[in-house]
Symmetry: C3
Subunit: 262 residues, 3 copies
Amino acid sequence: MRVITLTTDFGAADWFVGSMKGVILALNPRVQIVDITHGVPAGDLRAAAFALTASCRFFPKYSIHVAVVDPGVGGHRAALAIQTEDYFFVGPDNGVLSVALAREKIRAVFQITNEQLFLKPLSQTFHGRDMFAPVAAHLSKGLPIQNLGPSKKDFVKLDWPQPHRSANSVTGEIVYIDGFGNAITNISHEPLARPAESSGALFAKRRRLCSIKPSYQAVPRQKAVAVPGSSGFLEIAVNGGSAAAKLGLKIGDAVTFRPKAP
Amino acid sequence: MRVITLTTDFGAADWFVGSMKGVILALNPRVQIVDITHGVPAGDLRAAAFALTASCRFFPKYSIHVAVVDPGVGGHRAALAIQTEDYFFVGPDNGVLSVALAREKIRAVFQITNEQLFLKPLSQTFHGRDMFAPVAAHLSKGLPIQNLGPSKKDFVKLDWPQPHRSANSVTGEIVYIDGFGNAITNISHEPLARPAESSGALFAKRRRLCSIKPSYQAVPRQKAVAVPGSSGFLEIAVNGGSAAAKLGLKIGDAVTFRPKAP
Amino acid sequence: MRVITLTTDFGAADWFVGSMKGVILALNPRVQIVDITHGVPAGDLRAAAFALTASCRFFPKYSIHVAVVDPGVGGHRAALAIQTEDYFFVGPDNGVLSVALAREKIRAVFQITNEQLFLKPLSQTFHGRDMFAPVAAHLSKGLPIQNLGPSKKDFVKLDWPQPHRSANSVTGEIVYIDGFGNAITNISHEPLARPAESSGALFAKRRRLCSIKPSYQAVPRQKAVAVPGSSGFLEIAVNGGSAAAKLGLKIGDAVTFRPKAP
C-alpha cells in the first residue's frame, strides 16, 4: 500500500482533513494516509516546512507528501508536483515544500494544471480537497507525474535562515519550538561531531544558556541543556520542563555555539 | 476496503476514539477508518451535524458515517441506522444525522436494537464504543441493515435555520465558525450564481460587512470578504486573518445578502 | 492486517507521531496504526497508563500496544517488550505499561537491546521513532519477541492507588479526569453489582457528592451523579456538564462510596 502524508494548518476542530481523506479514498481505497500534523499555526509556512523537513525522510520510498498551508489559495500562486529520487511532493508553490526539497535530489518539477483531475466545481478556497487530494490519489495509483501539467523550471524558495560559522563559533537562530517547549535551532549538529565541539555551550545575547550534552538526562531535572536533536539540529531543552517557558526563548532568537576551549 | 467515518465530541485527550477503532478492527481488520472530526464542542449537535453535512459526500460510495454526539446516552433516545442511495449513517436519534440526511435520498431507516451485535456488558455511558462501533463494523462486512432491528418510520430532525429570500435580499445566519475564524452562513451560494448577485454585499445589523468576491485573494490582506465557501455556503472571511475575531461575529448572528443594484 | 496502537504525550502540533508512523510503514506497509491518544500531558505516566488500561482490551488479539511517555529517554531506563496472552506491549521501562499489564496474563518479558532493529543513528531524544516504532513494526511482521534482546525478570510498576474496603464503605480516589470533565475513580464498579450497593452515594471530604445511578440521564441536567463508567470504574459526572468544574474535583481527591442503608 502506498503512503500519502498530509501536513496542513487545518486543525482538528473542523472536517477539512477528513474531506481530503474522503476524496483520496474515493479514488484509491488501498492507500495508507498518514497525518504528519494539522496543528501548524494558520498560514505559518515556516512551521509547516520544518515539520515536513523533519519527518519526510522517515516514510517509505515513493510516499507522496502533500503539504497544504495555503494562504494564497484562489489567487495567482501555482500548484506544484515534484518528483525526487525517493518521494513525491505536492502542494502550493509558496515555499512550503522548499525546505524539505533542499535536501532531496529533485528529478522533475511540474505545475498542476490538468483540470480533469480536480473536483468539480473547483472551489477557490479549498484546493487541499479539490486539487491536491485528488492529484495525490492519482499519483498513488501510478499516474505519471507529467500528466499533471507542464513542466516547470523553478519554484518558490522559502527564505530559510542559515547559520554563520566563524573561527570560534557558529551563530544560528531558533527556528521551531515544539510541544514540549524544546527550542530547535538551525545549527546542524553533524559538524559538531568532533569531541572538542561536542562539549561546548550555547549562548543567547551573550548570556550562557547551557552546555551541550548527549541527552536530556545528562543534566538534573529542570536544568537547561543543548542536545543533538532528533531532527538533526541542536535543540535547547530543559530536562522535564519547557525550555521556551523557562528560558524565555522564541522563534527567531539568535543563538551562538562556542566549543569548549581545548 | 470499505470506509467508516467517525464524527464525535470525544476530543483528542482521551482514549475514546481509539477504543471505538479497536472495536471496529476486531470485527473487520480490513476497513479504512477516517476521522472527520472529534473536536466538536461537548454535546454540540449542530456543530457535529454541520461537519458531517459538509464532508460526507466526499467519501466513496457505501461509506458508513458514524456520528456520536450523544448527550442522551443511557436514556430513552433511540439508536439509528439509515441507508441512503450512497451511504450508511449510524448514530443516536437526536438529530445529529438529520442535517446531512436532508440532502440524501433515504432508502431505509432502522432502529438499532439487536443486542447480539453490541459489546457485553453494554455500558450506559459509551454507546459509541459498545453499540455504534460494532454496528458500523458489521455493516462494513455486509450485514444487511434490516438485521440491526425493526424499521422505523421517522427520526428526530435538528431544528436547522433556513434563510429567507425576499425581492432584494436573502437573510440567513452564521451557522458555523471554523478554525481559521471564517464565519459560514446558511445562505447557499448556488442561487447567487447570476452575475448581478455574485457582486453584492453582506450586512449584519444593517452594518455593511463586506463584498462578495470569488476568493480571499480578491481583497487586500486583513480585509473582509464574503466568498462562495467550500461547503456550498456564503462564508465571511478576512484575508490572512480571523473574520470572527476581527468582525466580532458569532454563531446565530443574522446576516443579509443584498445584490448590487444593476 | 495487524494492529499497532500508539499512546504518547507527543501532542498534535508537531511531526513526532507522523514520523513514528512513517518508520512503521517503511517496515510493514500492511498494518493498521491506531492512535489511542497523543494528548497525554507531557511526562504524565499515570494518565498514559490509564488511557492504555482503559482501551487496550478493545483491540483485536495480538495487537501491539506501543506507549511512549518517556521523560527518561537517553538515560538509564531500559526498553521493554512484553508478550501477554492476548497482546504485545512495547515501551520504556518506567511504569507506563504496568497498569495495563496488571490485568493481563504475562507470557514473556524482554529487554529491547537488539541494535540491528533500531534506526541509525539512534537519537538520544526520540526512541519512539528510532527504537519503539521499528520494534513494533518487526513484531507486526512476526519477528519472535526473543529476537529483541535478553529476557527480563521484572519491570517497573507504577505506584497506582488502590481503594480500601471497610465494612460500610469503599474509599478510593480520583485517578483521571476526561475531556468532558467526568472524574473517574479507582473504585471498580463490579463489586457494587449487588442491588444494595448499587444504590449508595459518593462522598468527598465528608461532603455528599451524588447518588449512584445507572446513567447520566437518571438525574436532571446539570445535576451530579456517579455512574458505572465505561472503563469499569465508578465515575462522577454532571449530566450535560463538567463534574470537575462544577464540583471542584481533581486528580488525587479521595472519594468514599457508602451503600444505602438497607
